[in-house]
């Protein structure tokens, strides 16, 4: 009987230890939660991929993120999206309005917005341009790009932990969030869509420290 008791205790301890490892000390239960925690602890460098905006010229993503040596709030979207991207679009519009207000007050900080399409095959430069106009995006604050090369796009999504699932009706579900990048092109924090104000304040304070 003592053998069974000993083994049982060991198994319970093993189960507890693996649950603890899995949930980062019982802090997170989902992979998305774990990803956000990991990024906050260890920033993730954006891989070297070529992106292309409405103006059709291609540049390197890290160059784009380093432009103006500021902070960039990034979201992933696709133009055919009818659900979550619409709310992403409107939260980006509100962020843009807040940044424009900062600028008008003369207290502008180098924070910019970047929307990256994960539907590089359909979202060509012309589509992106139409989409940006529809959202009244101010090109000095808010850029739209796609990753023309499919392999590079897959690498970018994988590195940043973006999971895109086709829903079988021609649309995609994806873990939409606000990703904050620093001037070195490192993803330093991930915010939920509902935490838009928090994301803005964080980006502002990060940009303020740079000045």
């Amino acid at each position: 009987m003592w053998r069974t008791t000993l083994l049982s205790i060991l198994m319970v301890l093993g189960g507890w230890a693996s649950a603890r490892w899995l949930t980062y000390d019982f802090q997170v239960w989902t992979d998305e939660g774990a990803r956000r925690l990991e990024v906050a602890l260890r920033p993730v460098k954006a891989p070297a991929v070529t992106v292309q905006g409405p103006e059709e010229s291609a540049h390197d993503l890290s160059t784009l993120l380093a432009t103006g040596s500021g902070v960039t709030v990034v979201d992933f979207f696709y133009t055919h999206c009818q659900s979550v991207c619409l709310s992403l679009g409107s939260s980006f519009q509100q962020l843009q309005a807040a940044l424009q207000a900062d600028r008008a007050k003369g207290s502008a900080v180098p924070v910019r917005l970047l929307s990256i399409s994960f539907d590089g095959a359909r979202d060509d430069p012309a589509t992106l341009a139409t989409y940006a106009r529809g959202l009244h995006a101010d090109p000095t604050l808010w850029n739209f790009v796609r990753v023309p090369d499919a392999a590079q796009q897959a690498l970018l999504l994988q590195r940043l932990g973006i999971v895109v699932v086709p829903d079988g009706r021609g649309d995609y579900e994806h873990n939409a969030a606000l990703l904050v990048f620093d001037a070195q092109g490192r993803m330093v924090r991930i915010f939920d869509l509902a935490e838009q104000q928090l994301a803005l304040d964080y980006a502002r304070s990060l940009a303020g420290k740079l000045q």
Partner: protein
């Protein structure tokens, strides 16, 4: 319960081997893991079934060694309970899709759980069985309810309606297992009673 004559240990083990091979091969794995409910409610039990089938050819010596470490089936059932509880954490499902080590550990743990469940179930007796199911089934109901109620996707790789379906089926499965076990326990108790009365006569 005795197995029918055609269901020899060797045949069971062959079936177990075949099932293991099928579950481990890429195409069935992909199909099973493409949906959240198939991942948890089909793939998990199938791996356990493979383990239970393979258990049929466990040598007598190994069985007797195991039983000294597993009196009343307690250690075995704790393994099963621990494995199933840890594997119900939503993060595991996502992690198993992108990390081959987690996937391998998951499948091995389930295979072993199937073997240990078969080795432990009868020695456990009604009291230990009741205790085991009393822990496991309510947990399945709670997890199922969480999956139904969550307005957010808990797994990045799966859709929201898939998650709701899994939640409902987890609860249904828990109810089914509970009723099956209660019926089985009632039948056993009645038979035991009858046996005792016959003995007195």
């Amino acid at each position: 319960m005795t197995s029918p004559a055609w269901c020899t240990s060797t045949r069971q083990a062959m079936a177990g081997l075949l099932l293991t091979a099928v579950l481990a091969s890429p195409w069935p794995r992909q199909w099973l893991e493409a949906s959240m409910w198939r991942h948890m409610l089909l793939q998990f039990p199938l791996w356990m079934l493979a383990g239970a089938l393979l258990c049929a050819v466990l040598p007598t010596r190994a069985r007797s060694i195991t039983s000294t470490w597993n009196s009343h089936g307690i250690a075995g059932l704790i393994w099963v309970g621990m494995v199933l509880s840890v594997l119900m954490v939503p993060r595991v499902l996502d992690l198993a899709l992108r990390d081959m080590v987690v996937e391998a550990v998951k499948c091995t743990a389930l295979l072993l759980a199937g073997t240990l469940l078969r080795l432990s179930w009868r020695p456990a007796g009604l009291v230990v069985q009741c205790f085991f199911l009393g822990m496991l089934l309510p947990m399945m109901v709670v997890v199922g309810q969480l999956y139904i109620d969550s307005p957010l996707r808990l797994c990045n790789a799966y859709l929201l309606d898939d998650q709701e379906r899994l939640g409902r089926w987890l609860i249904a499965l828990a109810a089914l297992l509970a009723s099956a076990w209660l019926a089985h326990a009632a039948w056993l108790l009645v038979r035991r009673d009858e046996g005792a009365q016959l003995g007195k006569l």
